[in-house]
Symmetry: C3
Subunit: 275 residues, 3 copies
């Protein structure tokens, strides 16, 4: 899949000037935001959260018809970078938890509010918030090599990205709880059967097939698409804001609890031990 | 499928007196409303919208247990008749758009408010509003020959029939957007997997199998069925009204935009050119 | 399946002192509530409704991580015991209907409010309220031998257990109505495809496989799981209360109607005649 990825993924000479962790490119009415920390499996650091918000803001205002988010390298994204937690100076836990909750709330809000069709090109495994956010995308295309894992309870945490609402809505509570409470890792096919993924493609032809569709979509009437997407979102926008607020509030409490801190520290050192 | 259709579909000597575009018949506790412009693929004209509302009103008050909507000929319905647009006298666009929006709002409301089990017998391809409305039916039976297509953005338009709410609810946003934003045409099997269709039958035995079920349903306790249907609808009735209002408001704006008018005119002349 | 059931299902020396119709047991961080009227297919009597509420209250306060509900013998539960209706003294119908509605409302509320992950181990056929309530569980595991049947309209009744909301939400209106209005009995596989069941297991290995998962889940962080479950429930708790109130109100009216009483009495005597 890598060769296709390199061939098909957009490159942008100018983007490195604006973003340190992303590639940002607009071409043929498509704006592409590519998570670009392949050596860290595109784990999302604190500065990267802010860059993604800024990139979405730029994409919302440019003249593109659709916006695409994808990852560079073998992973889509391994989610929140656990270094975000372990770098907390002692004694500062309450403030840091509140700041992190505010950061997360604004980050998720940028996805709730995004005014154009937003399409995920899931080029490999996805973990944590990179999975939960997919419930706020309009279309999700995945390579068969992708997996979807939200190990919140293992880490003593709780769901975000509005997934406590979008996941039960799309797949029913019985299947959503298996994923959000009990850490079930979904294959791409399972994620598609549950409505999290629109369509799965063979890895060998993933980029070629997906970009063929995306280029066709980018030729559709711009305003009509944007207004239709906003119409579908308007129905539940206030509800999504409320869910987002509840989720980050719960996480802020969680991040200050011993149960959560112990679980994160244990996971972190287990992961380090494997290296 | 035609022969079975002729055998099994209800006929009504008296209905031609009341309706010009429909067959309307009550027999064995089943009221059947049959869209009857087979030479135009049952495309819905302005007078036909009003006739369907009147037919639903009659069905809601008669002593039938269930009400069935189906199409005559090879199509279920090709949706809104594009002549509804192209016959607009110049200069009148704003008033015509508002009138059309009011007509559409009342039409969809008749489906939201219908007080008995409403069953679609989808005897062939369905397009546009004849697809989106299915989200407001209680049961949808389809021949394997049926397809489901909502090419709104191609026509510069936006979803109606409460589909901006019912489609994401039943199939998740990722699959609903593919249909409502990106014009994906569903086969009967795909529509069934996504929850739009209750069950698919082989075309050769479609009418016989479906009417066997319908006749069994028509023998169930009348009040119990109506009250249970109303109970399921009550949960979201106010929400459906709000969605309907937003959808027609958006369409009224859309119908006055150049993007929409150009897309419709282009499609119309392309279609004509194919004849 | 019986031998595994006897091996794996919890036994409790002390539970018989507290409950007459249930086995109640806490072991290895799992509280198990086992419906224990196998000779009556675990049909739920009036005293049994109260015992289940009491058991859920105890489980919510003990130090278990997850709570499991299952049935003893070949059935999961045949639902409401029809003797609850036929034992009504004449002349008392209005009061009895209101009392029954209040009992039912409180019973369903106990499931809405349950604060920990609640898992159904569906060991055999399920009927009526034992099916509808599954929409309020977090995970539902079923043996392939299980079936799911809600013959409300046959009995002149209407849906309860919040199913008029949870079923359309999980499977779409077109599939939910087939079940709730038209008495379609689902196989375990069909129930899984529709999102009512999380996963189906072969009957021969059902208890062994399920309890392997449950024991793994019981080792996850207690608070994190409870808070995540409450977060997912909070999103729709007020809505569930309103739905529950509407459903029992409708049933109270229904229980006083001739249509309903005739349907119940007929079913009851037909069932007796088969014995």
């Amino acid at each position: 899949g890598d060769e296709e990825s390199i061939q098909a993924a957009p490159t942008s000479a100018g983007s490195s000037a604006i973003f340190k962790t992303l590639l940002f490119n607009t071409e043929d009415n498509i704006t592409t935001i590519c998570l670009n920390r392949p050596e860290k499996k595109n784990a999302i650091t604190v500065p990267m959260y802010s860059e993604i918000v800024k990139a979405l803001e730029m994409a919302s205002k440019d003249d593109s018809v659709i916006t695409v988010i994808t990852g560079s390298g073998e992973y889509y994204s391994s989610g929140n970078d656990l270094n975000n937690f372990t770098s907390v100076p002692e004694g500062d836990i309450e403030k840091k938890a509140k700041d992190a909750a505010e950061l997360l709330k604004g980050f998720v809000k940028a996805f709730i509010d995004f005014p154009k069709p937003l399409i995920a090109v899931v080029n490999g495994p996805a973990i944590g918030i990179s999975v939960t956010l997919l419930g706020l995308f309009d279309v999700v295309y995945a390579t068969e090599r992708a997996t979807f894992h939200t190990p919140f309870s293992q880490l003593g945490q709780s769901p975000e990205g509005c997934s406590s609402y979008t996941f039960p809505k799309m797949m029913g509570a019985a299947k959503a709880s298996e994923v959000l409470l009990f850490n079930k890792k979904l294959t791409a096919t399972e994620a598609c059967e549950r409505g999290l993924v629109t369509e799965v493609f063979p890895d060998a032809t993933f980029q070629i097939e997906v970009w063929k569709w995306l280029k066709a979509y980018s030729k559709l009437p711009r305003n009509s698409l944007a207004l239709s997407k906003q119409l579908m979102r308007a129905v539940e926008k206030e509800h999504l804001y409320a869910v987002n607020a509840q989720e980050v509030q719960r996480l802020a409490e969680c991040w200050q609890s011993d149960e959560c801190l112990n679980a994160i520290v244990n996971s972190f050192f287990q992961a380090k031990a494997k290296l």
